[in-house]
Symmetry: C2
Subunit: 418 residues, 2 copies
Amino acid sequence: MSAPGKPGLKVSPLAVPFPAIGTIGGVELATGRAGFYKHERDDLLVMRFAPGTTCAGVFTRHKVGSAPVDWCADVLNASGGRDIRAVVINAGCANSFTGEPGAEAARRSAAAIAAEIGAREDQVLTASTGVIGVLLDASKIEAQASAVCGRLKADAWPEAARAIMTTDTFSKGAVGEADIGGVTVRIAGIAKGSGMIAPDMATMLAFVATDAALSPEVMRSMLVPATVKTFNAVTVDGDRSTNDTLLLFATGASGSPEVTDAADPRLAGFRDALLSLLMNLAQQLVRDGEGATKFVKVTVERAESEASARKIARTICESPLVKTAFAGEDANWGRIVAAAGRADEPLVRDRLSVRFGGLWAARYGAVAPGYDEAAMTAYMKQPELEITVDVGAGEASATMWTCDLTKEYVAINGDYRS
Amino acid sequence: MSAPGKPGLKVSPLAVPFPAIGTIGGVELATGRAGFYKHERDDLLVMRFAPGTTCAGVFTRHKVGSAPVDWCADVLNASGGRDIRAVVINAGCANSFTGEPGAEAARRSAAAIAAEIGAREDQVLTASTGVIGVLLDASKIEAQASAVCGRLKADAWPEAARAIMTTDTFSKGAVGEADIGGVTVRIAGIAKGSGMIAPDMATMLAFVATDAALSPEVMRSMLVPATVKTFNAVTVDGDRSTNDTLLLFATGASGSPEVTDAADPRLAGFRDALLSLLMNLAQQLVRDGEGATKFVKVTVERAESEASARKIARTICESPLVKTAFAGEDANWGRIVAAAGRADEPLVRDRLSVRFGGLWAARYGAVAPGYDEAAMTAYMKQPELEITVDVGAGEASATMWTCDLTKEYVAINGDYRS
């Protein structure tokens, strides 16, 4: 029943398969067609959580924002992230830049699901993705609420991931587990996003749930730093969205001991599992970057600070000249040097070095001795590339992931609304 | 004899004709083929100036920079911009990121021309454009110095503009005049650049000469603020170059009274003429943006400060999603709102308004009442667009010019070195 985000898109050559998630105790999911798209596809997802589920979220810092993000922030602020019962997500309309009517549409969406599952509207979160500036028609969600909630089941993660796709060419999921106080807990997540992906989130929606028992404070303490290293470290086109939302839910259904102190040593394994899962999802966004044919890891070493390393890495990752060179399989390391130098961060020109995989392109401020164009060109033909830039100004480093900029990106985005 | 920058490129649909410059007293020009390109084309330009010519320059603020920029900065610093006799320019090799050997190559280029015209090497400036990271072969310039300097003549401005092209599809020039103390002075300039164009200059070379008599201090006082409003207000792809150079020469050949005080009221007309000429050249760079089919003026109004307005305008102008929408003739004003909101500058969401020409797309934080998609679509089909964004946060405004992002941009840049 579910079709890809946009008919006719070819699946990314960098796609990875959807994992076998199975079930997460305390989580049920169902999808339906509200009709935000002209073509036949699911565009509505409801996730229901067991009573007492806790939640933490990270949202876009975009100045315009959107009604569903405002709604989530208000709900989480008022509840402290306690006893959240559901989230309702639609694709096909971002409900951003829609003023007071947009806020009311978000509220009505939450209320429609709340009524079906016997909860209050302020226990239901919302998320939307799609075209900006179009008011969400909440009546479409109200009309489907009963039918969708009647289909809730524990093993619908694959359908859920498909229902939230927009220009995504493959559905994105990840799963993991960890030990908390001798009890194995499970964690699973889905995400969508392929364009407008940038540091500081993106048109990116991610929903992660675990059967561990965690206080909202503990979840926030793990989620915020993990986001910096994962979702905020990927960029497709530098365009941050109005709707970015990452939500983490903990149902407690595993029976694991409740952790309420962020410094609790029993969290170590879970923290690692969460970071690994978020990294997996974030990298899948890049693998599905619109028109992408190359998955590129850019590491900046010996920068003055981690923030400086990140800024240089981001400048390289978002340079159209660098990204088109990747698309052309051109080992044009001069453009990487040029991008590093315009980041307005400390670098020592005469120590600046650039490596493609294990091949030195530039060393100490000039082309590398024995530079081998044929070997570089062969390296560039691989689908996954690793670029390392040593800026010689300190001891800090940072890594960011991006993709190439192809004609297909232009085609997809020159024609999005039609 | 001169061929375009790269064979096979179609001339930009936004091109404007090269003006009739005629001559500027005290300036002679000559071109030649040093052989930095495999195909037959001029790639070398020498401009000779009358004894006593003054000079001011603005250069890239790129952290890597290049040997010719270093050379110019050193010469102008040591001489105070007095008695500059020539500039030698090559296309096809940027001589950037080439360390000590690159610096020596720049010096040798200057020395070769100096010897031919009876000047010292520290009276000759240099400029280079082309691939980064390749050492300039100065012997190619030395071999041509005598022949080129033997061809110097006053009316070779059109050939000069063609010799410095790289991926430019048309040659760029502008001419103007002004009155200084009852004497008519003339001013003319040429420029090159089409990719790697960004605020804070670009792979942009511009050489402007006048027959007025101006002290270097007076020239600097006019050139720096004019650059902010012109070359720093255009962007093709946000990629600033290592080699950006804007040089202004004043020969004094008109016999106009020498002006040595930046506050001299007799400068008013010249200041306007210079600003207008630089604006003309800067906009030609955008009109030749790689693959460009749309020339777009973006004005941000009611920002908190002029700097804030500029940052918002630049974020809009450099957003790949906005630029691909222009390419697709899609009036996707939501992407403009999204870009404005991620500039991290003050804006009032409920006052935010967007106008395409005279058509309101968004007003006061939502789609404009009576929004007419057909009229918007018709507007987008024009080759020149004007977008105005009111951010409702203050009283300052700024304008920036950009072009669209097309498949052709990707094609040109995915394959530049081959």
